[in-house]
Subunit: 363 residues, 2 copies
């Protein structure tokens, strides 16, 4: 082992050399991005340089090319930041999100646009819509699948009154696990610690699996995780971070009652997004309330083998129709197959509005 210091020294020199190369290439990338921006500005001084479909393509390409040792998601995250920095050089993307700061929606905004974007919290969802409509910001970020059901509806309702388009989606993975220290047996858990909110989100699962365990509310899930480290008969409800931090074992994963809790956000903007190759389309359809209306509405999707990813029913606020349906499906409105289905649906529905075609969430 006498040559260990020189081995380490050689590796550090190699890392320094790699860093110099990475620095040079990122700088050249930034210069290229600047040239793209200059050419576009000549064509149209009001142009927006951020292109959701191009960014999705770059990230997907990176993830496909990557063969380790970093995992593809981590690598894509680094490239998101590199792109964000290159873009901000010429014109930082301006983003309004549903605040306050420190919420999942802010996390989603930063994850989607990178940390070089300029982002500001808004007090309400309609404010986010208004800022985008007024042109004060390029994009808005709003939750669409959230633990507070009212919030989702608020976002959907805002689309009914707005001409804004969906330009993208961001997904955060937020899951609760049942965690124990390594010497705890699954069948010996007599006490469970967690934050009251997490208890509420996992209530059904707990009632089914641990009906007799005492539930002790603590100030945070981090504290819950810390407590079980030294208690062999206790478990904690907490997330990935706490499990990693305290080296706890997961005796059950994703125990939240709504598996998609607080995890999906929409990027709203005022332009259409071209095809990226893997896209989703969201539409809102108004139907008269008659027997078989929903079946009739969905039949063309089925016939053209188009995957529905989500369907929400909302009472109409206009009074003319009884219901509106929010439908998400795979595909882009510019694909002939999708255009054909939309045409058929338009004939059957009282009204159809395409909220947007956009790249499926990459990260």
């Amino acid at each position: 082992m006498s040559d260990t210091p020189s081995q380490l020294e050689a590796l550090r020199e190699r890392i320094d050399a790699l860093d110099s190369d990475i620095l040079r290439l990122i700088s050249e990338r930034a210069s290229c991005a600047k040239q793209v921006a200059d050419i576009k500005t000549q064509q149209d001084p009001a142009t927006v340089f951020y292109r959701p479909e191009r960014e999705a393509q770059v990230l997907r390409r990176i993830m496909a090319l990557n063969d380790g040792p970093l995992d593809s998601e981590e690598m894509a995250r680094l490239f998101r930041e590199i792109m964000s920095a290159c873009l901000a050089l010429e014109q930082p993307v301006k983003v309004a999100y549903l605040g306050p700061e420190g919420t999942f929606t802010q996390q989603a905004a930063l994850k989607h646009f990178g940390h070089s974007a300029v982002s500001l919290p808004m007090a309400a969802i309609d404010e986010v819509f208004r800022e985008v409509e007024a042109g004060a910001v390029h994009y808005g970020v709003v939750p669409v699948e959230n633990s507070t059901e009212g919030v989702v509806n608020h976002t959907l309702d805002s689309f009914m009154d707005s001409s804004m388009r969906i330009c993208g989606e961001a997904v955060l993975r937020i899951h609760h696990h049942l965690l124990v220290s390594s010497n705890t047996r699954k069948d010996k858990v007599s006490r469970i610690y967690s934050h009251p909110q997490s208890f509420a989100q996992c209530r059904k699962w707990l009632d089914a699996h641990y009906p007799h365990a005492e539930r002790v509310a603590v100030a945070s899930n981090a504290e819950a995780a810390k407590l079980v480290k030294t208690e062999w008969h206790s478990a904690a409800i907490a997330g990935d971070m706490a499990a990693k931090l305290y080296d706890l074992e997961r005796i059950a994963e994703k125990i939240e009652d709504s598996p998609d809790n607080s995890t999906r956000f929409l990027i709203i903007g005022n332009h259409d997004v071209p095809m990226s190759g893997e896209d989703k389309t969201s539409v809102v359809v108004a139907m008269r309330n008659q027997p078989g209306a929903l079946h009739e509405l969905l039949e063309p999707f089925h016939r053209h083998a188009i995957d529905l990813t989500r369907l929400e029913t909302r009472p109409s606020r206009s009074g003319v129709w009884n219901y509106v349906f929010f439908i998400d499906f795979k595909g882009h409105r510019d694909e002939p197959r999708v255009a054909a289905v939309l045409e058929e649906v338009r004939l059957r529905a009282a009204d159809l509005k395409v909220l947007g075609s956009y790249p499926m969430g990459v990260l």
Copy 2:
């Protein structure tokens, strides 16, 4: 302009090629970091791979080498994330910080350790200290210069009872400006909007400069900034983000009464950090209350031309001495000049404890 599309196409192809190279180099960097980790583990299975002085050196080198177009701070931020990802591959750095999530302390922790670190919020400063002492985490992040004066003292007091060392500092730039829309005259401001907390932080400045302006509290500084866009006689107190987002002019910058408000955080750990080349040292000194005690204490620093960057006086809790002084100065305890001063101070003081020598905040 007929060749514009092909120009754009060529630039995009060039960017794709650069991305492939960046991907390859980052992957090679990650492999090297993995080899470093393997060698170190052979030497000592319990080793911690994160080395604050090495990381500071890498970032400083990058900032010195960088000559645009990205600014050096942005480039350093990208490299922080690359290092964070490489490190997490082998052993994610575990960090406890003063919570809750969404606070400036979390921001500081993520800025310092990058987004690949595993970080968890703690409910109190002593909990952060305890988690580090117990070895549950590698590092803790606590505020040391904060708007809530009690918090600062709490951190200082925690050091008196702890054997923890300071391993680094993180600085966040959080400033308030007085913002107006471009057609507003500085002497016509009759109303100022802001969040109540920001009003409190800028009270003295406002009393001195705008004693007669009506102060209107709103829900957020973002809202304040939005309001003044359409009111020519109004101003808003808000930060850089709001100014950029709404294209507002700054008629006064950094108007907060304590200019270093909420801006400095300490990284605590259980090991000494070697010299990085640009370091700071923090000590706590207990003195008997006698005339000229402070002057006597500081004289050696002056004589050896060592820059003091901060001095705090706290009443001693042990009862034996009347006061303890927390002193920060430039230099590392391993430098002969610094070692000589510390030796002199040790002779004059009732007690001297070196809290740590650590790299000066890079980002």
